[in-house]
């Protein structure tokens, strides 16, 4: 085992770890750009993971159907959150946390009743982009990943275009930046916020479905293991901009993939130091973001504030 093989194995495994963070963070950015503080990622990822696993067991050999089911299920459950915060204007932090706890209980219950736990799923074969996959080193790292890895890049391009180059994107951002002005201009706050939550949640569901259907190929109660919370942190870290979120997700993916490879290679590093590296990286980047001047931040102006027409502030 030489250093070259070690590096290739490590970097080639990073995208699989990074994809759930990237998709979940992007889904949260879409919702938060409309002014809704969204903490539901951990719960909706579980919904996506369970729906994906269940569908994968029912329709064996159709991972695409399973991933679509994961997106749909998370969107449907997110309607509950949307009604709570947009229609009933409940505190967004409390509503988000309750949705997470609700989803944790619901997925555990359904997974147990349906006996989906620990059943092996068929998974999704890696896509070899021939002949590029035959190039040494680069082929293994870039052209032998599973299809969702490539899809994730396309999704980022599409969402970026939608948010910043279309009328719909402008309206969503206006609703998040200054809902009073948007309302006066005739843009429906309720409609655009619900739309942003539901659309964003489908990406969070895909992130969860990816973990169960593609990455682990198994459903286990509570299997997202706090990754939704890391996505919430990534949004702040990326200052509500899609591309930095992708970069942050890749950074986390690289670090998380490094830990087992270092240990399996028998390299003598204190393991607690290794296990804390993702969090050290978070703190380091937060300090860096904080030290930079804040003009670059795209934090939505009305984030976390329910909109009541003609209410004085």
């Amino acid at each position: 085992m030489n250093l070259g093989d070690f590096l290739i194995n490590w970097i080639a495994n990073a995208p699989v770890t990074a994809v759930p963070y990237a998709l979940a963070a992007l889904g949260l950015i879409v919702a938060e750009r409309s002014g809704v503080l969204n903490l539901t990622a951990e719960g909706l990822m579980l919904i996506g993971a369970l729906a994906g696993a269940g569908t994968s067991l029912l329709f064996v050999g159709h991972p695409a159907v399973a991933l679509l089911a994961a997106m749909a299920a998370a969107s449907v459950v997110s309607l509950l959150f949307a009604v709570l915060v947009v229609v009933l204007r409940i505190n967004q932090v409390i509503a988000g946390l309750s949705v997470v706890f609700f989803c944790q209980g619901l997925t555990g219950l359904i997974g147990t009743l349906a006996k989906w736990q620990n059943k092996q799923l068929s998974g999704l074969a890696p896509l070899k982009i021939w002949p590029l996959s035959e190039i040494p080193i680069i082929g293994r790292i870039f052209f032998m990943q599973d299809p969702v890895v490539y899809l994730t890049i396309l999704i980022f391009i599409a969402v970026n275009f939608l948010l910043f180059k279309t009328m719909l994107g402008l309206r969503i951002r206006a609703v998040g930046e200054n809902p009073g002005a948007a309302d006066a201009a005739g843009v429906s706050i309720t409609l655009h916020r619900i739309l942003a939550i539901v659309a964003g949640s489908s990406l969070i569901g895909l992130a969860g479905g990816y973990i169960s259907v593609v990455s682990v190929k198994l459903w286990v109660t509570g299997m997202t293991g706090g990754r939704g919370w890391i996505a919430v942190a990534l949004v702040v870290f990326a200052r509500w901009a899609p591309w930095p979120a992708l970069a942050g997700a890749l950074l986390f993916g690289c670090i998380e993939a490094l830990i087992p490879h270092v240990a399996a290679a028998g390299i003598q590093v204190p393991q607690y130091l290794m296990l804390m590296t993702p969090y050290l990286a978070t703190i380091a980047v937060m300090i860096w973001v904080g030290a930079k001047d804040s003009r670059g931040s795209q934090e939505p102006g009305a984030l976390g504030q329910p909109h009541v027409r003609e209410e004085r502030r």
């Binding site: 555990g108 620990n118 198994l218 286990v220 109660t221 087992p260 240990a263």
Partner: protein, 359 residues
């Protein structure tokens, strides 16, 4: 004045408890037994092993045993779950998590007429007994199978946390492997979580990339076994017989046999004069902790025979951690002709030569 009652009450409680301890514990009524499960009953591992034992114990005691699932290691959730059973007349409460230890201690003081048992707990008392299995015995046997079946001599072990009960399984695994292949090594990856299939898969894949061809485990999901099956290598399971999840890859498993411990223990509780061990119960293969679920058809008969001969020796009293045992640094941990005492197991923070791990 309400305050005046307190000394009387305290005297009654402590006095009553002291007498009960001296004479053994006797239930005031026929036993009604309830389990608090840490996870859901079909978690595939730790909790499901209890669920399977519960059904067998029900038959052997000829009475219904109830349960509640998914009680997390939080006092605010354990106490109401236990008290609901106690109010409904249940007087034997069995917990299933390390994190219940302190709450069970408080509950056992508050309800001196209820018997408490807790798996992998650390607290004991006149009406409270913690219990855990000597998992190193069965993991030693699994290590023998792994050592015999590995072509490269490189074994892997996916573990959760570097604590005593995990460290002893790692050392025992390597000891078993060395018995069959004197050059065998065991590379350990700690995931830092009992139940994180994402990290378990990453660990098992990294091991396969390194040429490791048998993967043992002390984590809760069967993920390492499934990875082994995908990569065409072998593995050994933990908690239950993991051939259920990876029939080709899983050679054998270190599986809980709680019914062998719980049925006689609960009969003692029912009979009266139950004397919980002040240091907790620590059953081995013989008394019903874990046993080896053996073996996959891929394991040759002569290997199975050797493993089963060792199993018989362990049941007859052979102690695996018998000196001289040195750790990686060369420090003597068990002197020649001595064997490790139970305290030494619980505080084990060293590894034998041949174990490759981070510090």
């Amino acid at each position: 004045m309400r305050w005046t009652y307190i000394p009387v009450l305290a005297a009654a409680l402590t006095g009553g408890a002291a007498i009960a301890y001296a004479a053994g514990f006797t239930l005031p009524a026929p036993p009604k037994i309830a389990f608090l499960y840490f996870m859901d009953k079909s978690d595939g591992g730790w909790t499901q092993a209890f669920e399977e034992a519960r059904v067998k114990v029900e038959k052997s005691l000829d009475q219904q045993i109830v349960y509640v699932e998914g009680v997390p290691e939080v006092a605010g959730q354990i106490t109401p779950a236990a008290e609901r059973f106690i109010q409904r007349g249940y007087n034997v409460i069995i917990g299933t998590a390390f994190g219940y230890s302190d709450t069970f201690k408080e509950l056992s003081n508050k309800y001196p007429k209820v018997a408490f048992l807790n798996a992998s707990g650390t607290t004991n008392g006149p009406n409270l007994e913690s219990f855990y299995g000597r998992t190193y015995e069965s993991q030693y046997l699994c290590g023998m199978v792994a050592g015999a079946m590995s072509k490269t001599g490189k074994l892997g072990f996916v573990a959760a946390h570097p604590i005593g009960p995990v460290n002893w399984t790692i050392n025992a695994y390597e000891m078993g492997a060395l018995k069959m292949n004197p050059k065998a090594t065991t590379t350990v990856v700690f995931t830092g979580a009992w139940n994180d299939p994402v990290k378990e898969r990453a660990a098992a894949q990294a091991m396969a990339d390194q040429g490791i061809d048998v993967i043992g485990q002390h984590v809760d999901t069967p993920t390492p076994q499934i990875v082994a099956q995908e990569r065409g290598i072998y593995g050994t399971g933990h908690h239950r017989d993991f051939r259920e999840f990876a029939p080709k890859a899983t050679l054998c498993s270190s599986a809980w046999t709680w019914e062998k411990f719980l049925a006689p223990e609960l009969k003692k509780v029912a009979a009266g004069n139950w004397e919980p061990s002040p240091y907790g119960a620590f059953p081995g293969i013989k008394e019903g902790g874990t046993d080896i679920a053996c073996c996959n058809a891929a394991v040759p008969k002569e290997v199975v025979d050797k493993v089963m001969a060792e199993r018989d020796a362990i049941i007859a009293g052979k102690k695996i951690f018998t000196g001289p045992i040195k750790d990686i640094a060369g420090t003597e941990r068990v002197a020649a002709n001595a064997s490790l005492d139970d305290g030494g197991f619980w505080k084990m923070d060293w590894y034998i030569p041949g174990v490759i791990t981070q510090k």
